[in-house]
């Protein structure tokens, strides 16, 4: 097969009718791919006026023009209306999905409608099939994965398997989509969107192959980039201890959230440091397909299940963020305890960051008497792994009103029960960086309410002054660079290797000179378009609030400067509105 780069090839599947069709969509040099492609598809096919949980709303998975062609071009953008915020949102994941999509011949997969019965979708270069999987109702992520192996079994090892657990089927606001066991479309509830479509799983078969451009430019550039990312120290941190190396660093800085952000440092860090995980529990590393770095760290969870020395073992992936959310944030100071919690979260199909931070709020609320055990059912206590595992079950099943609300986010539960001052929510449950004003503002207001929109946490660590304009200019510019990466769609860890100039070179080497020339301008348009969509789907940048808990944080720099944070907020709100309006008029 030959790839036509001038537009994007989209497979649209409507679960309602069971019909599917291939669409040749848009112009490459305008939407680029990934993030830009997903936004453009939503603009064309989404229902801005209907609510997020309307099953007609599209769920979009998009790769970029460089996917599969270069190292670390190994991610997929999932675009959807978030059940958590109601707004247009994105979540990114790797695993084998990006390459499987490339080799199935599609730039994007767009799913609309709700199936009559729980279903599994199988997509390959030569097939689109819908299977009735009513027998998989309520199945956990691991069991569902096993049943799904029968679909496309003839393409063993070259397919990707997406599935949701009971959390997605039950519509929790932070249900995730599991990708190939160890990766996730995590935040903002994409799993609930899948559940709303009665879509339990998707198998993507990467069974096609493509002709390459003639000439030496492409293989030569590949070799150069490959040696940059493997031969130099650029990526060392990611495959060595992995992102978990940040635990010690941030704890030292007094920037690691502990016990619902009541502290930012604790001497018991050694029990859950990256070093502790690596020395005692690390089994092996693994990689997303197409990435030679291999940052996925798999830990060994050994559990005794009966008194007579009877053990079972499981393999659980860990990273900095999961260890923060289900470790320090919950006061867990033992690495195996963290893995046990992560394993449970994985099984039920919840985002580990959001669920950990939401439960941390519940534990403090109980401690303070804001709620009682009537609500929590179990005696939630910081440091008690078993109580949190039990609570996870109540959360997923929605056993009472309290858990049903908590399943839509800590802020929603706090609005009903009180304790709003200490919800660690910045647009959604916080990421693991108590680094200061710039990060708090960037997560609270950013496009995905994520630590991945821009490097606000790094800015907090390096800035020597409190220059509001400079800080906001940094956020806007860094976001622009990341938008380019998210359109291609590279792993964020490769952002130093993939400068805008390098991306242009890569596009040109494949013959996409028009897209290469238009890259920075198109990136600005995509940035604008994403903001415009977020606002059109309900985002009010002036309504964002930062809970009191963040104003009480003390880092290595001293107490948070509330006046500076307010000024950043005002200025960023203006910048966002400017971005959404820039070059506008046509919408």
């Amino acid at each position: 097969m030959r790839i036509d780069f001038t537009s994007s090839r989209v497979l649209h599947v409507d679960m309602e009718s069971g019909a599917s069709r291939v669409i040749s969509f848009g112009t490459r040099s305008a939407h680029l791919g990934g993030s830009g492609l997903a936004a453009a598809l939503y603009t064309e096919y989404g229902l801005a006026d209907a609510p997020a949980d309307d099953p007609r709303q599209p769920l979009i998975f998009a790769i970029g023009p460089l996917t599969g062609f270069f190292p670390l071009m190994s991610k997929v953008v999932c675009g959807f209306r978030s059940p958590y915020t109601g707004e247009w949102s994105e979540s990114h994941a790797g695993g084998r999905l990006a390459l499987a999509m490339r080799f199935s011949g599609y730039d994007a997969l767009m799913i609309t409608g709700r199936a009559r019965s729980l279903s599994c979708l199988v997509v390959g270069s030569r097939r689109v099939e819908m299977h009735d999987v009513h027998y998989m109702r309520g199945q956990d992520v691991f069991t569902a994965g096993k049943y799904m192996r029968r679909f496309g079994a003839d393409r063993h090892g070259h397919r990707s398997s997406l599935r949701i657990g009971p959390a997605g089927e039950n519509g929790l606001g932070y249900a995730c989509i599991n990708v190939d066991s160890f990766r996730h479309f995590g935040r903002m509830g994409s799993g609930a969107v899948m559940g709303g479509k009665k879509l339990k799983g998707i198998v993507v078969l990467g069974d096609g192959s493509f002709t390459l451009p003639e000439g030496k430019a492409y293989p030569a550039l590949f070799k150069k980039i490959y040696s940059d990312v493997t031969g130099t120290d650029m990526m060392r941190k990611y495959h060595d201890l992995g992102t978990a190396e940040n635990l010690l660093v941030l704890n030292e800085l007094h920037a690691l959230p502990w016990r619902n952000l009541q502290q930012t440092s604790d001497p018991q860090i050694d029990g859950i440091s990256g070093e502790r995980f690596a020395e005692q529990l690390l089994l092996r590393q693994t990689a997303c397909a197409g990435c030679p770095v291999g940052c996925i760290h798999i830990g060994l969870l050994r559990q005794q299940f009966a008194s007579d020395h009877e053990y079972l073992y499981k393999q659980v992936s860990y990273d900095y963020e999961p260890i923060f959310a289900q470790g320090s944030m919950l006061g867990i100071t033992n690495a195996s305890g963290v893995l046990a919690l992560l394993d449970e979260t994985e099984k039920v199909g919840l985002d580990c960051m959001s669920s950990g931070v939401a439960l941390a709020w519940a534990a403090e609320a109980l401690e303070k008497g804001v709620i009682s055990e009537k609500e929590t059912v179990v005696p939630l206590r910081f440091g008690d792994v078993h109580s949190f595992i039990a609570a996870m079950g109540h959360l997923v099943r929605g056993t009472n009103d309290f858990y049903r609300l908590l399943g839509q986010g800590a802020a929603k539960a706090a609005a009903e029960y009180g304790g709003e001052d200490f919800t660690c929510v910045l647009g959604q449950e916080m990421a693991g960086y108590a680094t200061g004003e710039v990060f708090f503002v960037s997560q609270a207001m950013g496009f995905r309410h994520s630590h991945l929109d821009s490097g606000g946490y790094a800015y907090d660590q390096s800035a020597k002054d409190k220059d509001v304009d400079k800080a906001i200019d940094f956020l806007v510019d860094d976001e622009h660079k990341r938008v380019l990466i998210n359109c291609m769609v590279s792993c964020m860890f490769a952002r130093k290797a993939y400068t805008p100039e390098r991306l242009q070179e890569a596009l040109s080497s494949l013959g996409m000179t028009e897209a290469a020339d238009a890259l920075t301008d198109a990136g600005r348009m995509v940035q604008r378009e994403r903001w415009r969509l977020k606002i059109a789907t309900g985002y009010d940048v002036n309504a964002v609030r930062i809970p009191k808990r963040f104003k009480e944080v003390v880092t290595w720099k001293g107490p948070v400067d509330v006046a500076y944070m307010d000024a950043l907020k005002q200025r960023y709100a203006r910048a966002i509105l400017d971005m959404a309006a820039a070059g506008g008029g046509e919408n």
């Binding site: 097969m1 790839i3 599969g68 062609f69 190292p71 390459l99 490339r102 080799f103 030569r126 994965g145 096993k146 192996r149 063993h156 090892g157 070259h158 190939d180 066991s181 160890f182 990467g206 069974d207 096609g208 192959s209 493509f210 002709t211 390459l212 293989p219 590949f222 070799k223 490959y226 040696s227 990312v229 493997t230 031969g231 495959h239 092996r284 590393q285 693994t286 990689a287 997303c288 397909a289 197409g290 990435c291 030679p292 770095v293 291999g294 996925i296 798999i298 393999q315």
Partner: protein
């Protein structure tokens, strides 16, 4: 004669860099299938990875099964391939005892390792090596080796 050996697959991270390199450099294709080496998970992702690649039989059943001479015996094991003679009958793939030959469903051409070694420098964990054909040809493939993989550098 040298042959490709996937002798340290315990270290494999499943990145597919080897298959992609073979497809790109030997077969001029973007693929993780139309390649002389293919990586699959050994029964679900949680048990590591295995490589499907030619083990350099001598004599080679695939060459014997080939009715046109497109596959012929290679000195030291494995086969030499002359694609212009291939009639796409698929006999070679059927004869191979280790499923090393991939038949592309689009054109039905067979893809097999020619033991050129171009994939080797692209493996970040030094799972692969180009070894002397007569060296360590028995079951024991040479153990873990001494290299630490990543420290070999990418190239």
């Amino acid at each position: 004669m040298k042959i490709l050996r996937a002798s340290r697959m315990e270290r494999c991270i499943g990145c597919h860099s080897c298959s992609l390199a073979c497809a790109r450099l030997v077969h001029k294709r973007l693929s993780w299938n139309t390649a002389g080496i293919r990586i699959s998970s050994a029964g679900g992702l949680s048990t590591g990875f295995e490589a499907r690649t030619c083990v350099a039989c001598n004599p080679a059943p695939c060459a014997t099964a080939c009715p046109t001479g497109a596959f012929s015996q290679r000195k030291g094991g494995g086969v030499k391939v002359d694609r212009s003679l291939c009639i796409r009958c698929g006999n070679c793939a059927e004869a191979c005892p280790v499923e090393a030959i991939y038949i592309d469903p689009e054109e039905s051409f067979p893809y097999v390792c020619i033991h050129c070694g171009r994939c080797v420098p692209f493996c970040p964990h030094a799972c692969l090596e180009l070894a002397d054909a007569d060296e360590g040809r028995q079951e024991y493939g040479g153990g873990q080796g001494t290299g630490t993989g990543r420290d070999h550098g990418g190239q």
